[in-house]
């Protein structure tokens, strides 16, 4: 597992949009250039292009190194400076180390052996393909001063904020309207009163109306009463039925989870395949809640989110970095020391999709055999900041799908014979799951 991880991380790194070291967008490159220009004067002693260095760094080094943080390998900001100040090692030593660290260690170099031992005898991958220029560029990049964190300006145009303010303004408008109506009512009452006073002052007799009030007429009309009673009874029966039928159906159930995990960021923004984490969906009846070691595959190197993402989170009241720290606590990962403490606290997720015990549902049948997309039942998970139950998960809902969905028989030798015979029997080209027997009680209830 350990051995293949760097590779995975590199791939993932390249996919990360919202993660800090994925700033390969053109804008960011441009930004880098500006910074580079700003620093050119002060860095006259260094030759090398730190912008090129940055892309080289991200492509080759970022899987194990960060500028300011010890990871699989040491933090690399001012590495050249540090080596020459503390160890008296020059740039040639660095060239040699990067191109063939094992060779340096073997040569008996004291510092090389020390650092090798310090990082638990994990040899650094050799990079013989990097030219002197490349290395100079990388070193230039590492020699940059730490940039002040860009001031995060709350983006008023972001969706979350908009909806938030929208909620407030709706209330305001409603309140204002209510006050307006009250004012109107008071106004009318005052006008009416004034007019009456005026009338009595003028000694004009208002003709007394002797009509029976409407409600009395209504009460006296037995037919109307009967019809109304029946109507009310039917209506209340309808609503009562509706109420009782929804008991136990948790469509839209959106519980607060112990760790704020955003499917939107993972499955949506970063486009991670559902089955990368929920791998047992392919072979098992359960889709499986990923174990924490699956999270740590990536989060060992992703210890914080990009500032923009952080800002988006803050706008909805979530600090994503804190959530990552919670993951570390749960997995027992000491980020500073880059090792597991063994003191883990399993996460007690709140289960969202609960099928009753008397229903047998198998994910692999639907995912692997039928090739149904996860979203068919679970909804637009890639847009869900907080996971919720999309489908009603009622039997009617299951059956509806079985009636309308064709069986995926392509390239499956199991189905060849039965599909041929059954489709002939039913006179159809393609069989639905129901025609294949997917409505039989015993297929799901045993």
């Amino acid at each position: 597992m350990e051995k293949i991880m760097p590779k995975l991380e590199v791939n993932l790194t390249n996919n990360m949009k919202k993660v800090i070291h994925r700033k390969l967008g053109k804008n960011i490159l441009r930004l880098g250039l500006i910074i580079l220009l700003a620093f050119t004067a002060s860095l006259s002693a260094q030759e090398g292009d730190s912008a090129k260095g940055k892309s080289l760094f991200n492509a080759n080094c970022a899987a194990c190194h960060q500028l300011d943080k010890k990871m699989t390998g040491p933090a690399l900001r001012h590495v050249e400076q540090r080596l020459s100040d503390e160890q008296g090692l020059d740039r040639d030593w660095i060239y040699a180390w990067i191109r063939n660290s094992a060779g340096v260690i073997k040569s008996g170099d004291a510092y090389a052996n020390k650092i090798y031992a310090e990082y638990s005898n994990a040899a650094m991958t050799a990079f013989p393909q990097l030219s002197d220029d490349d290395l100079n560029n990388i070193l230039a990049y590492t020699a940059q001063e730490k940039a002040a964190p860009p001031a995060v300006v709350a983006n008023p145009g972001s969706g979350a904020t908009a909806s938030n303010t929208g909620g407030v303004s709706n209330e305001l408008i409603l309140g204002a309207l209510a006050i307006l109506f009250i004012l109107l009512a008071i106004g009318l009452y005052v006008v009416n009163k004034t007019l009456r006073r005026f009338v009595s002052a003028q000694n004009i007799d208002l003709p007394e109306t002797t009509r029976t009030p409407l409600w009395k007429a209504f009460v006296k009309n037995q037919f109307l009463m009967l019809v109304t009673a029946i109507f009310f009874l039917l209506a209340s029966a309808y609503f009562a039925f509706g109420y009782f039928m929804q008991i136990g159906i948790d469509q839209g159930y959106e519980p607060v989870q112990p760790i704020h995990f955003s499917h939107k960021i993972h499955a949506g923004d970063n486009g991670i395949d559902c089955k990368y984490c929920h791998s047992s969906a392919r072979v098992s009846k359960t889709s499986g809640i990923p174990s924490l070691n699956v999270c740590m595959n990536c989060h060992k190197s992703i210890y914080e989110v990009a500032p923009e993402t952080l800002a988006e989170g803050k706008a909805i009241g979530v600090n994503y970095n804190d959530e990552i720290q919670e993951l570390y606590t749960a997995a027992g990962w000491d980020d500073a020391e880059q090792k597991y403490t063994g003191n883990s606290q399993p996460v007690k997720w709140v289960r969202i999709h609960n099928l009753p015990d008397f229903v047998y549902f198998n994910h692999s049948q639907h995912v692997s055999v039928a090739g149904v997309e996860c979203q068919t039942c679970h909804g637009p998970v890639e847009e869900m900041e907080v996971m919720y139950q999309h489908a009603p998960l009622t039997m009617g809902w299951c059956i509806e799908c079985h009636r309308t969905t064709n069986v995926n028989v392509k390239d499956n030798a199991y189905y060849t014979k039965i599909h041929e015979e059954l489709s002939k029997k039913y006179g159809v080209e393609e069989l639905t799951a129901a025609q294949m027997g997917g409505l039989e009680c015993g297929k799901c209830h045993y």
Binding site: I247, G248, D250, P255, S280, V283, S284, K285, T286, G288, I289, P290, S291, L292, N293, V294, A330, A331, G332, S344, P346, V347, K348, W349, V350, R351, N354, P356, D357, F358, Y360, N362, H363, S364, Q365, S368, V369, D411, N412, A413, Y414, Y415, T416, K417, I418, E421, L422, K425, G437, E440, C441, G442, K443, H445, Y446
Partner: protein
């Protein structure tokens, strides 16, 4: 005042000076009503802050809260692994090969685990040794989740740590060794090469070490006989698949005789193939499983059995014994058996269960004389090694105080010894007593230290089943409790710091594997050594030479037969102690599955009992009777052996030899098991001198015992269409219609077979597309062992209902094995008798007679489960359509749809539907495994646990067929030939049950459907079942 009349209520009031009158003027009652007594202590009441009003508030609030809470579903938590083990995928079962070796049951098995929990035991089909999983082995998985297990090591009552345990015991052992006193290891038969090695290392370190192997149920006589003859301690192996004529004298070889596990070989030749099947003649006293399967059964008392064996010897091998003391009929039977044996020659075999060295020697000699192919003395069975003499000497030594330390493992002598008091007395005289045990049982509670032992599913180990045939035990779950194996302790005591796993690996590497891979052996669970294969070859090659040599020797040792005949002296009623298929030696007495498992012969669960013949019972005034609710009651009897008396209930057993009685071991335990499981009486108290035959006196005792029997009528009463039976002669010579005719009905005065669509109420449904499952049950191969019943329990989460509920006929077994006697000497006799009944008067009296089984009845076993009728009567009467038919032939049952009208059960002609009268899980009234968190771990997550008020029944393991289909779909392939299985068919080692798809014409079950022996149960009802039965054929050919 209008009147001066005086009204009075009692005469007392007339007495003006009465104190009572005075009191009553002030108070309502003469004495103060003791309200405080039922309201509680007055002081506490006054101190409490809760007023009546508060109380009402609480009641109101909690009622409202409870109703409100009911509207919202509970919040369920899901806790994933922190680091998921690579081999575990939630929802997918893993299988591990391991080996049971509890000293009584030895079997190579596959363990099915789900999310790390072992949930089911299955047969390891790679194992070529004896001992497929029987009912007890199938049930043993439940022992892992026994809530009464010892969870930490104990010193007396106190819990201690393993460090303390090791330190204290090592110190004591060292000082005892220094004082030159005996250290005794009293163990079960481990048959473990590595344990033997370990024990010899332990002996080297401490000196004076004696290893005493103790089998609770002794095979010492057979071991001694084998040892005397072949110089090695073991038991001759028998392969009944190579025998065409089997004569057994008191050997229950389909039960637990000499370690058991012979049934699959036996069953192979019981199915008529090209007109041939084996002939089995049984001489025995109790009606055993083996006797029930025999073609000819001769009931004989143990003494007569000895005479019979001696006579058989003289007839087959030669000798002078004349056979006096046996009746002419028995004599004739022996003559015929002998002539058949001689005719069969090397295809014959003789076995005996008489616990007598001479008897066992005689059996070995007869087999040698026959040069029997089924008899294999070259690869002896190693799973019984106990020695009666050594145990007797040990008890004497302990009593004499010469034993310094005793360390026990896998034994419970205080329960299983007849002279328990001597043992306890001796135990108190030892300086150190340690018992490795899973329970605080009769023995470990008397020992100074209890080493909390793991279940075999948590242990490492190895077994040499028979010479050169090895097997490995591996843990399938981490120890649930703080337990350590006996072998771990031995390693500690010898100062060896390696783990037992490493020790086994090393020992195997040097001694056994011979270069083969340990991991491969571990994966397979079994390993056949090179020595074994060589031995087999030499046996094949040189058998003829051997037999001539040995038959030459046989004549002088005809002494054994003479001695045997001389020792046979009858002195009254003889008791034969035996083991039941369900309980064995009683190690698993706290296993509710086994307690509720009905004995195959008596069909009685939750008990042991004295079996007695009708004639003897009448003589003693002992009765069995059916009470008003249909249940069975029986008299009690005092059974006395040499002054030891126990009181046991009596069951009148058809086929029990007159002058003999039987009683099963394994019951009457008092410690280490729940009160519900404390059933029956302890027969070990009568097991004096390790002799399973004792002379007893029987007196009727007061009281009436309530049995929990699941089958209350014994015979078929001539209804030959339920169990179809014929003889080999008829089977070979006559047409199918003569012995397996399809019933006919009259249509327009023409007889039409009931299978014809013309006489069917329903339209036929096209089942030719897709799978169509059928289960075939061969009544010839079925020995009635009941492994399928327990496998069904484990697979389908069948609840245990307890003795009182079974007595009310509310047992939940989805699969039952009916046992039928014939009231006449043969089943045909029954049919003829029924057909000859005419008129009401005659039918009343004759049916009454027919219900009484004959003195020596023929027996037939018939497993019955839901027949999955294509035209199912249950489906048409369900008012809510909870039961319906699937295209694949299974009769589905949607529990959540069932409202419990029970119409279906009433309309089922096979009576296979079971109603859940109570909530059996999480209910203190049913305190079995489903009532605690530990026991519930055995539940199969793929099958729902049914609730109260629904009907349930066999589903033909639809979860298994669906899984097989899904596996094929996922891999994009066709389902393999005979890949479909049910729990019962997979558990059946005798091959009696075959399951499969009849639309796959290549499958075994499709071929069986066309077999001439095939019939459907109650075919004339027209239900078109998907369970087929194969007619039972008996080989009645007398030589």
């Amino acid at each position: 005042m209008s009147s001066n009349k005086k009204y009075w209520k009692s005469v007392e009031e007339l007495n003006e000076n009465s104190s009572i009158v005075e009191t009553l003027k002030q108070n309502e009652f003469v004495e103060e009503i003791p309200t405080d007594e039922f309201l509680g202590d007055k002081e506490t009441l006054e101190e409490t802050a809760t007023t009546r009003r508060d109380f009402l508030k609480y009641v109101g609030f909690s009622t409202a809260a409870a109703s409100l809470a009911a509207c919202e579903g509970p919040v369920k938590k899901a806790i994933p692994y922190v680091v998921q083990p690579t081999e575990i995928i939630p929802g997918v079962a893993n299988y591990y090969a391991t080996t049971v070796a509890d000293g009584f049951d030895f079997a190579s098995v596959l363990v099915k685990t789900r999310e790390g929990r072992p949930i089911k035991i299955e047969n390891n089909t790679m194992a070529a040794t004896n001992g497929s999983a029987n009912a007890r082995v199938n049930a043993s998985v439940l022992g892992l989740y026994d809530s009464l297990r010892v969870q930490v090591p104990k010193k007396g009552e106190a819990s201690i740590s393993w460090d303390t345990f090791n330190a204290e015991t090592t110190e004591k052992l060292t000082s005892i060794a220094a004082a030159n006193k005996d250290i005794v290891l009293l163990t079960q038969t481990f048959a473990s090469p590595s344990t033997s090695k370990l024990i010899s290392e332990f002996s080297e370190k401490y000196g004076n070490v004696r290893h005493v192997i103790y089998d609770a149920i002794s095979e010492s006589a057979a071991l001694d006989a084998y040892q005397a003859k072949y110089g090695e301690r073991g038991l001759a192996n028998y392969d009944f698949s190579k025998a065409m004529t089997i004569v057994s004298v008191g050997a229950d070889f389909l039960g637990d005789w000499q370690g058991g596990g012979f049934d699959s070989g036996y069953a192979k030749n019981r199915v008529p193939d090209h007109g041939k099947m084996s002939r089995h003649i049984q001489f025995e006293s109790n009606m055993s499983l083996t006797g029930a399967n025999a073609d000819k059964r001769v009931p004989l008392t143990p003494t007569q059995q000895k005479l019979a064996l001696a006579k058989l010897y003289s007839l087959v091998v030669g000798g002078s014994y004349s056979g006096k003391g046996l009746s002419a009929k028995v004599d004739e039977a022996i003559q015929k058996a002998a002539s058949q044996l001689k005719k069969a020659g090397s295809n014959g075999v003789v076995v005996t269960g008489i616990q007598d060295v001479n008897a066992q020697t005689v059996a070995l000699e007869i087999n040698e004389a026959l040069a029997s192919k089924a008899f294999d003395p070259k690869t002896p069975i190693k799973t019984r090694q106990g020695s009666d003499a050594a145990v007797t000497k040990l008890v004497a030594d302990m009593k004499a105080g010469t034993v310094g330390a005793i360390i026990m493992s896998g034994v419970n002598p205080v329960y299983t010894l007849a002279n328990t008091s001597d043992f306890i007395e001796g135990l108190k005289k030892t300086e150190l007593s340690v018992a490795f045990s899973m329970k605080v049982d009769e023995t470990s509670s008397e020992a100074q230290y209890i080493g909390a032992a793991p279940h075999y599913l948590e242990s490492w180990g190895d077994v040499e089943f028979k010479k050169g045939h090895y097997a490995l035990t591996q843990p399938t779950i981490r120890p649930l409790f703080d337990t350590k194996q006996f072998q771990d302790a031995l390693l500690k005591w010898t100062g060896n710091n390696v783990s037992y796993h490493d020790y086994i690996k090393e020992a195997w590497g040097t001694d056994i594997l011979g270069g083969s891979s340990f991991n491969e052996a571990l994966h397979d669970g079994v390993f056949v050594g090179t020595i074994a294969t060589e031995t087999v070859e030499t046996t094949e090659g040189t058998s003829s030479n051997d037999s001539t040599e040995e038959s030459a020797e046989a004549t002088p040792s005809g002494n054994a037969a003479r001695a045997l005949a001389a020792s046979a002296k009858s002195t009254g009623l003889e008791l034969t102690l035996y083991t039941k298929v369900g309980m064995g030696d009683g190690q698993q007495a706290n296993n509710p599955w086994l307690q509720e498992f009905p004995d195959p012969i008596t069909r009685t669960s939750w008990d042991n009992y004295l079996t007695i013949s009708k004639a003897d019972a009448d003589e003693k005034g002992l009765v069995n009777k059916h009470v008003a609710n249909g249940a069975l009651n029986g008299s009690y009897a005092n059974v006395t052996v040499n002054g030891v008396t126990i009181t046991a209930p009596v069951i009148i057993q058809p086929g029990q030899a007159k002058g003999s009685v039987g009683l099963a071991f394994g019951y009457g335990k008092t410690l280490g098991l729940k009160s519900e499981m404390q059933t029956g009486v302890n027969a070990y108290a009568l097991y004096q001198g390790f002799n399973n035959v004792q002379t007893v006196t029987i007196e009727p005792a007061a009281g009436e015992h309530e049995f929990a029997s699941v089958q209350l009528h014994n015979t078929l009463m001539g209804r030959g269409d339920i169990v179809k039976e014929t003889t080999l002669e008829i089977f070979n010579t006559k047409e199918k219609k003569d012995w397996n005719a399809v019933p006919e009905v009259s249509l327009n005065h023409e007889p039409v077979p009931v299978t014809s669509p013309k006489v069917d109420l329903w339209d036929e449904f096209d089942r030719s597309i897709g799978h169509h499952f059928n289960l075939s049950i061969d009544l010839n191969a079925c020995t009635g062992c009941g492994a399928c019943v327990i496998a069904c329990h484990a697979e389908n989460n069948v609840p245990v209902v307890g003795k009182t509920e079974v007595r009310r006929s509310r047992d939940m077994h989805w699969l039952r094995i009916d046992r039928y006697y014939s009231s006449e000497e043969s089943f045909e006799g029954d049919n003829t008798k029924k057909d000859e009944i005419s008129g009401l008067g005659s039918s009343l009296s004759e049916f009454g007679e027919m219900e009484n089984a004959s003195e020596n009845p023929q027996v037939a076993f018939q497993p019955v489960m839901c027949q999955h009728c294509n035209h199912a009567p249950c489906e048409t009467v369900c008012p809510v359509a909870a039961t319906s038919h699937g295209r694949q032939g299974q009769n589905h049952m949607a529990y959540n749809r069932c409202v419990g009208t029970r119409y279906c059960a009433n309309n089922c002609p096979y009576k296979v539907r079971r109603f859940n009268w109570f909530l059996y899980n999480g209910n203190d009234e049913f305190d079995y495994h489903m009532n605690d968190d530990l026991g519930r771990m055995v539940l199969n997550p793929d099958v729902v646990v049914r609730s109260r008020g629904v009907m349930e029944k066999c589903s033909m393991c639809i979860q298994m067929t669906q899984k097989t289909i899904l596996d094929a779909k996922r891999e994009g392939r066709k389902v393999g030939k005979d890949e479909f299985q049910t729990a019962c068919s997979a558990a059946c080692s005798s091959g009696a049950m075959a399951f499969g798809d009849i639309n796959d014409k290549e499958s075994k079950v499709a071929k069986l459907l066309e077999d001439n022996r095939m019939y459907h149960l109650l075919e004339h009802v027209g239900t078109k079942p998907n369970v087929q039965y194969q007619t039972k054929v008996r080989n009645t050919t007398e030589a």
